[in-house]
Each structure stands twice: as C-alpha cells, then as structure tokens.
C-alpha cells in the first residue's frame, strides 16, 4: 500500500509536470464539446435546387413558391429542360433537380394525380437523401393543401384524413446538441482511459525506466495500479469537467442521477484502462500504441451509435456493437442525461460493462505476466 502511494505521488508529479498533456486533458473536452456538436449537425441546409417547370401553371408556381419558402432549399437555377439542368448537377453546383411536367395542373385536376421528377446528386449521399426527403415532405404538404382546397366544394365527399403530428420526448426541441454532447463526452473519457494510460506505460518502456523499476522490489501489481489509478481519476475528472462545460455552453442538466452516471463511468473506466494496459503490453513504441488506439477509437466511434443509430446498422455491424464498450456507455449516458433512467433501466448495460472490465483486465494481466 505504501509503495502504491509513492508510485502515485511520482505519477502525479510527472503528469502535472507534463504541461502539454495536462493542457490537452483540460482543453480537449472544452474544445471538442464546443466544436463537434456544431459541426456534426445532421440538419442539412442550403440544398441547391434546380427547377424545370414545363407547366407554368398556378399550381406549379405555388409548389415552387413553397419550396423556395422552406429554409432547406436554395433555388440556384431555372431551366427549360433536363439537359439544361444536368451540367449544374454534374459540376456539383446543384444538389437536386425538380422537374414539373407539362399539364401538371391539368392532370392533377382531371385525373386527380400527377407525376413529378426529382433527380438527386448522390455524390454527397447525406445531402442528396435528405434533400429528396425534404422535397417529398414539401410535396406531400402541397398535396394535402390542394385536397383541402377541393374539400370546400360541397359536392365532394369529405376525404377521411389521418394527420400525424409527433412530439419528441426527452428532447423537446429535437436539439441535435443535447443528443450529441453526452456521446462526445464518452469518447473523451475513453481517450483518457485507453489512449493516455497505454501511451504512458509504453513511454516507460521506451525510456528504459521500466528496466530500473524492474530491479526494485516493486511488485508488478503495484506498478500496474500505480499506473492505472491516476488515469482512472483523470477520466472521472474529465467527465465532471465535460458535464460542467455542457451545462455552461448548452445548458444541459442531467435529468437522471449524477451518482449513477459516475458509478457507471467508474466501472467503464476500469474496462478501458484494462484495454489501455493490454495495448501497452503489445506495443514497444508510442507510435505503435498510438496507431492501434486510433484504430480502436475509429471502431468505437463509428460502431458506437454516436453518429449513426445502431438500430439502422446492418446485422453484422450490430453484432460488432455488442462488443464495443463505448456503445454501452453512449447509450447509458444518453439514457441518464436525457431521460433520467434509473439503475433498473441500465442494469443490463452495467452487467455488460462489468464483464468488459473483468475480461480486459484479466487479458491484460495475463499478457503482462508473459513478459519478463
């Protein structure tokens, strides 16, 4: 116990002396929390739209007017035919082409239906998809309005209509930030837990200091604990700091229990520290550790449900997310912060993350033993 205290004293002296790392630990959460939610915004605006109107009728003008009035679209081009509009699409000047055929109004009134063409530039898939979806939405509203117009004719039977209106629960304004910020916090905590700890241990290997430590009576588990405890504490501090930053900047107040959140983070950090130790056992240089951690981080982020919901992933990817500890924590932090979930709701996650902590640490200790 005494030995661990001395090791901790040394470790903290070194961390606080390493100004670059220290600044990063405190500045990184702030900068990332400010920048990322703003940049990683799914709401696509300024979709450049080309319009070809063959009809020139009041209805077609009304549709165009509605598209123009929406905040999503920017009319950049007005052409006579599709051949005229294509070059702009090809040059990436416009993202979407809406073609209104001749007799649009006539067909709509006489045959009670009309066809429109939407051509989408799918090079930027997200923008294209969303553009098409927004356009369809506008056309649907347009369609409904026309029906309402016709209903006023008394001879017509009223058409039964189902109107869907949605209320977003737990995030009333559907604010993207409230949803993203907790997820980003998880990534930050993971980076401190696995990145920093593995780099720190590998640094001792690189500098040869581990050699000097090995000839002292320091036991291996003392050394490992002396390495992991400081980063465990740092991880908790980063989480606290991140919550404060997200309160100050985004006004996010966790609905659920902070104690529960930190308890989960405590177990989660033990798991990621074990992972960091595991990496450091197989890496001889900080470069190797860095690249391997980076690979892991990419998987954690992309298959963790941070940006894309796990539910919409293909089956094989869903299987991988089951082995991704970050995915559990991202879900849990959103549940606690947004929804106020209690211990009972996150018990399965707690169990899974507990298993990760045990498995990673056992693997790490086992591979550490194999070395001299």
């Amino acid at each position: 116990m005494r030995t661990i205290l001395f090791l901790l004293e040394k470790e903290f002296a070194q961390i606080f002396r390493n100004k670059a790392i220290l600044r990063l630990i405190f500045i990184m959460p702030i900068v990332q929390l400010i920048m990322l939610p703003l940049a990683a915004d799914y709401e696509v605006k300024n979709i450049n739209c080309s319009i070809i109107d063959h009809d020139h009728s009041p209805y077609s003008r009304r549709l165009i007017g509605q598209i123009e009035a929406s905040t999503y679209f920017k009319l950049v081009d007005y052409q006579q035919n599709i051949e005229g509009a294509m070059p702009k699409l090809e040059k990436d000047k416009s993202d979407i082409i809406l073609e209104i055929p001749q007799n649009f109004e006539k067909d709509l009134i006489k045959e009670e239906k009309a066809t429109l063409l939407i051509a989408v530039n799918a090079v930027n898939g997200v923008k294209g998809n969303l553009g098409a979806a927004y356009a369809s939405g506008i056309i649907r509203t347009f369609n409904q309005n026309i029906r309402m117009d016709w209903m006023t004719f008394p001879k017509m039977n009223p058409i039964p209509e189902i109107r869907i209106s949605s209320i977003p629960w737990y995030n009333k304004m559907m604010s993207y930030k409230i949803f993203m910020v907790p997820g980003i916090l998880v990534i930050l905590v993971t980076m401190v837990g696995s990145f920093l700890s593995s780099l720190n241990i590998v640094h001792e290997k690189e500098a040869g200091t581990i050699e000097q430590i090995n000839v002292t009576p320091i036991r291996k588990h003392h050394f490992i604990l002396g390495k992991l405890i400081p980063f465990w504490i740092l991880g908790i501090v980063v989480l606290g700091l991140g919550l404060i930053v997200s309160y100050i900047i985004y006004g996010i107040v966790p609905v659920g229990s902070l104690f529960l959140l930190f308890s989960f983070a405590a177990v989660y950090l033990i798991g990621t520290l074990g992972l960091g130790l595991l990496i450091s056992n197989y890496a001889d240089t900080q470069q190797q550790a860095m690249f391997f951690s980076f690979l892991l981080m990419m998987v954690f982020i992309l298959l963790g449900g941070l940006y894309t919901p796990i539910e919409s992933m293909p089956e094989w990817a869903k299987v991988i997310t089951k082995f991704n500890p970050a995915a559990y924590f991202i879900e849990v932090i959103r549940m606690i912060v947004l929804k106020g979930s209690g211990l009972k709701d996150i018990l399965p996650h707690f169990f899974a993350i507990g298993c990760f902590a045990v498995v990673f640490n056992l693997l790490a200790i086992w591979s550490y033993r194999k070395q001299i």
């Binding site: 040394k10 002292t216 009576p217």
Partner: protein
C-alpha cells in the same frame, strides 16, 4: 581491498539464445566473483556483456545453467536479489522529468529507506550534483547523469553493484572520476561487476573476463593477463601505415599485425626476429621499430585470434 573467498556471484554454464536459437548471445559461461571484488567484463559491442548482466540482475531468464548472487538463485529468489543489487543499465533510465532530488527520493522510498540513512555511501558522489538537485534529470550533462544513476543504484546500500557500460559516452575526465568512485565503493565493501568496451579501464579492475561472441576467452588479473602474453611485441610506425600493414600481413614471419592508433603492433612467429629484419623487409626509410610491453588490448586481440 576487503576481498574474501566468499563468492558474491557464481555463474555456472549459462547459455542464452535469441531469435529461437539463431543468435547465440551467451555460450556456456561460468565464472565467480569474490566478495568485495571489482570485476570487469571486457569485450567489444555485441559480445554478450549486457545479456549476462541482465541475467544476473534478474531481468532476463537464461536458457540453461544457473546464476547465484550472495547464494540466492537468480531465477527462484529474484525478490531477495532485487533487494541486494544496485543495477545501472547502459542507457540512462531514470525519470527525465523528475529532478535529481525527486529521482533519488523515489528510489530510496521504494526500497523502504531514506536518503539520510545511506547518505554516507553516496556522499562523495552526491555533493558533486547536489547544487543542481532541483534540476530535472533530463537536463543534466552525461557525466552528471551517470553520477545520479550511480547514486540511485546505491541508495539502498546494495551488496553487489552491477554496472553495464557505465562510462560509455562519458568524457575522459568524468570517466576517471567515475572509476575513482568505484574504488572508494569497493573500500566500503561493495562487490562491483562492471562491463566495459574500453580496454584501458580493464587495468583498474581486480580481475577481468574477456568476452567475445558469447564466449569467455579468459579470466585473470590484468597483470597476469599481460604477463601471459608470451610473445615479443613490436611497435612499428611509418608514413603510410596502411600499406605497411598490408605488407606485414603478407609476410611469412608474421603472426599478427594490428593497427593501434598511430602505430602498428606486430608479433612475429619468429621469437629471434630483430628490428633490422623488419626494417629490411619493409624497405621504407620512414619506418621506426621498437619493442614494447603489451597492453590489455594486445592481449585481447591475441586471445581473439586464438
């Protein structure tokens, strides 16, 4: 000298291979170091010195054979050994971001002791670096780093000091100082085993072992090794050393000819050879030939040739 017959280190038939047997680092090495002795492992880079010292320091497992330190087995009793040795690796391996004082304090505390308790051991060395005790170890000069490393290796009063090339990369004045310090530590009763690629330092040891390609060539006192040279050694100097050496090496009378700085050291198979014979053969007016006493390095070269 407080030497006794008690053995501080016993190495028996130690072998060690790397890369699954492709590289033989140590080949059946056996030797003893007496209590209180200053023992030198002398050999070129890659001879196996570091491997041997790391096995004794319990940092590496041998493939076969056994090593004992103060009668403790280096494999089974590694914990007991780690309490008794002070090990200084070839590369500076203290915490560069901690100060001199912090490094020393750290190593004292993890050995459950304090700087004050064993201050007498390190005093001579520590006073030289004490003015800089608040400076970080990474910012020290090479010589000061060595002194700090030695202090850290000594702070828990080890019975055996294991030094791996302590003077490599250190200036000549600091090297001399360092060896003076080793002499004083020996007086305090500490057994020292030191490896070095410098042949001149070998003279300062009580006994030395020549090691080359993982094999021990000989173990003896420096004087005995020189006495056992057994040949007449000639020093030859001239204007064009390289062509002289090529010429001598082609001569049927030559046993060996090596370049030593500005001279050639020449041994003939013919013990009766005279300077005149040599000069006559070389046919060069600039050539000067004189008889010299062999150095440790000459002995090493001759052992290597055999």
């Amino acid at each position: 000298m407080v030497m006794s017959d008690f053995k501080a280190i016993e190495v028996k038939n130690i072998s060690k291979n790397y890369d699954k047997g492709k590289i033989v680092a140590l080949d059946n090495i056996s030797f003893d170091v007496k209590k209180g002795e200053l023992f030198g492992l002398v050999g070129p880079d890659g001879a196996g010195k570091t491997t041997l010292l790391r096995i004794i320091a319990t940092l590496l497992l041998q493939d076969s054979g056994e090593a004992k330190l103060d009668n403790f087995d280096c494999v089974a009793d590694f914990k007991a050994i780690r309490q008794r040795i002070g090990y200084m690796p070839g590369r500076f391996s203290l915490y560069q971001d901690l100060t001199i004082e912090e490094n020393l304090n750290f190593f004292a505390t993890i050995f459950n002791t304090t700087i004050e308790e064993n201050y007498h051991l390190i005093k001579d060395i520590y006073v030289q670096i004490e003015p800089f005790k608040h400076r970080r170890a990474g910012k020290l000069s090479g010589g000061m780093k060595q002194k700090l490393a030695l202090c850290c290796a000594l702070i828990h009063k080890p019975s055996v000091l294991i030094l791996d090339e302590p003077t490599t990369g250190v200036d000549p004045v600091s090297r001399k100082e360092f060896w003076d310090m080793l002499g004083r530590l020996q007086h305090d009763g500490i057994t020292i085993i030191v490896s070095t690629p410098y042949m001149d330092e070998a003279n300062l040891c009580d006994r030395i072992a020549f090691i080359h390609h993982g094999k021990l060539l000989t173990i003896n006192t420096p004087q005995n090794i020189i006495d056992s040279f057994g040949n007449v050694l000639w020093s030859i100097s001239g204007d064009n050393l390289f062509s002289l050496m090529t010429k001598l090496r082609a001569w049927q009378n030559t046993k060996s000819c090596f370049s030593f700085g500005e001279n050639l050291h020449f041994v003939s198979i013919n013990a009766q050879i005279t300077p005149q014979d040599i000069m006559h053969y070389l046919k060069d007016d600039s050539v000067q030939v004189s008889k010299i006493v062999p150095s440790i390095e000459d002995c090493f070269m001759s052992f290597m040739q055999n």
